[in-house]
Symmetry: C2
Subunit: 388 residues, 2 copies
Amino acid sequence: MNRFEPNLRIPGPTSLPDAVREAGARQMVNHRGPEFAVLQNSIIDRLKKFYKTDGDVLIVTAAGTGGLESAIVSFLSPGDKVLAITIGAFGDRFAKIATVYGADVTKLSFEWGKAADPAKVREALQAGGPWKAVLMTQNETSTAVTNPIQDLAKAVKDVAPDALVIVDAISGLGAVPFDTDGWNLDVVVSGSQKAWMVAPGLCFVSVSKRAWDAAATAKMPKFYFDLAAHKTSAESGQTPWTPAVAVMFQLDAALTLMEQEGLEDIWKRHAAVGAAVRAGLTTLGFKLLADPEFASDTVTGAWIPEDLDWKTFNGKLRKLGLVVAGGQGALKGKIFRIGHLGHVTVPAILNAMAVLEQTLLELGRPVVPGAAVEAAQVAALKSLGLVK
Amino acid sequence: MNRFEPNLRIPGPTSLPDAVREAGARQMVNHRGPEFAVLQNSIIDRLKKFYKTDGDVLIVTAAGTGGLESAIVSFLSPGDKVLAITIGAFGDRFAKIATVYGADVTKLSFEWGKAADPAKVREALQAGGPWKAVLMTQNETSTAVTNPIQDLAKAVKDVAPDALVIVDAISGLGAVPFDTDGWNLDVVVSGSQKAWMVAPGLCFVSVSKRAWDAAATAKMPKFYFDLAAHKTSAESGQTPWTPAVAVMFQLDAALTLMEQEGLEDIWKRHAAVGAAVRAGLTTLGFKLLADPEFASDTVTGAWIPEDLDWKTFNGKLRKLGLVVAGGQGALKGKIFRIGHLGHVTVPAILNAMAVLEQTLLELGRPVVPGAAVEAAQVAALKSLGLVK
């Protein structure tokens, strides 16, 4: 990782392992033929294990936002009462999609940097209804906060048991602990360019039996994002519209790598890199955005100090081969974000910390040489249980 | 091309040239960074030349059907009167999308295998209205017919000059003569996996000034497929949602190959392979579906003889490395189709004819050895003006 092979530390697209990259160079096959059907059937079976669901998982050719749209229009009707829990830009986007398609949306917003509070969700549910669905974000990429989905879903089950629980898990599923069926989640959306270590172009949507029942009477207009059409096609190993075949090849390769590592070890690796980034950035003097209790293990956001010229700083990072992300929405220009999901290791994080440290030193800022790298490494080792 | 490297003769995904395939294996970049902006700006400028338009061309991460949906929802409102000219399954699909989103659709259907008749379009336009839009298919992949788009668009301009002309050019644009601005077309949709020789996952939509004016008041619900959002993002070299980056890399490589060949020569090559396929199949005794005057130069459909067991026949073709497509919609099980667009040459067609001929002989059917290959080659040479 250097200026010729940058350390791509944005929260997706994640960089691709070589075996995944190279699968993107495969020759096309007939997407209505037997070879593709075997491929898709295998991928769906394997995705279900990472989702921890016995329900359906469908593959849609679109960015994650398209998956969110499919999760709204396939199950809801105009006028349906929807509670949209939002802790950032992506929660707001999810609420907006439901609004655009005519749902009666009540937005429950929490301060950016905080997780959603299950007690407040209970209150909001009790104050209104009857609720057709509750929207929530597992991992809010804009604020680097992971919501307590299990607790939020339990609040819905207790107070509004008929409501569908629809989860944006795009930037977390496959990287951090998740249990679709165990947590009673009805619809869960993920995207290929995140934990799955694959190029963008595909999203995945799990659907519970309850959600299919809702789909049967859902009246929002839909065509491309109609998940019922995807289910019908999937039964014969196809997709209703031509799928992103090359991305499917990459996904096949990536799932093999993920299976070799094992889900539990993937989760441990993400916990370690999350801890490493937070320790390193803090040691460098950055203030983190997220509530420490709910800090994401796939992305970290840090405030840009007022006396730091961000453009100069980021230009130097780029020259040293480190690519980070800026802020989104209300946080544009105020924070930067480091992605650490999918194809990420502790050494890759140490590399990032080293570049940040060197750049701060070049700008004459007071940092202790080596301290951030050391702190990141120790935090990772502690997370892995190798150091007390 | 053999059983290990099949001759993929379906009407998309087309097989990929090596330089295109290999571009699919590139490492990811930041889709909000300067490198991606340069890439997208370059691709859009070059697509405009193939579209022959000075209007906008936008890139959407979706299958072609998503592009069709974007062409409906971005410009129309529920209740708008729309004339949908259809000559097959994809024309019917386009009409259905408009219907689903609440347009007041009048379908003008022509017999499958025939092109749309501009005189009948004039009559239909005069009999109703006021028309907000007219939908038409340039190249109907299900029947292997190419519509006279220039004449159809002129009929609209003469009779209903305020109507937007919205064209599905997914399986033809880039392969056969087309002139977006010269023919006064407002919205034109194409797809990466067709003439562009790229994996599926991207579609392209051109938008005229008139269409943008309509977009300003369009009320159909939309989010992912909102082309106005794509235009805003494109102005800073981005897309509103994460784009299919690897497919963009492939498109960049494919456009270079297309520029090296030149648009006129690409058109000539497709005319030659179209003539070759039609001559070869006819010589083999197959009856073609399309009206000869409007036969497509990107795909050919042939009736399956009643006394030919298609499954046995197709199984033998596959063993010899030839992959063809079946029929769609009402033609399922009745025809087979040979794709000849994008990455296709006359020798690749001769290979297909040789496999078909050998297979017919194996099944004991009366064919003259070598005759189909000869006829295909002569037809190609005539098309190229090398033989009188």
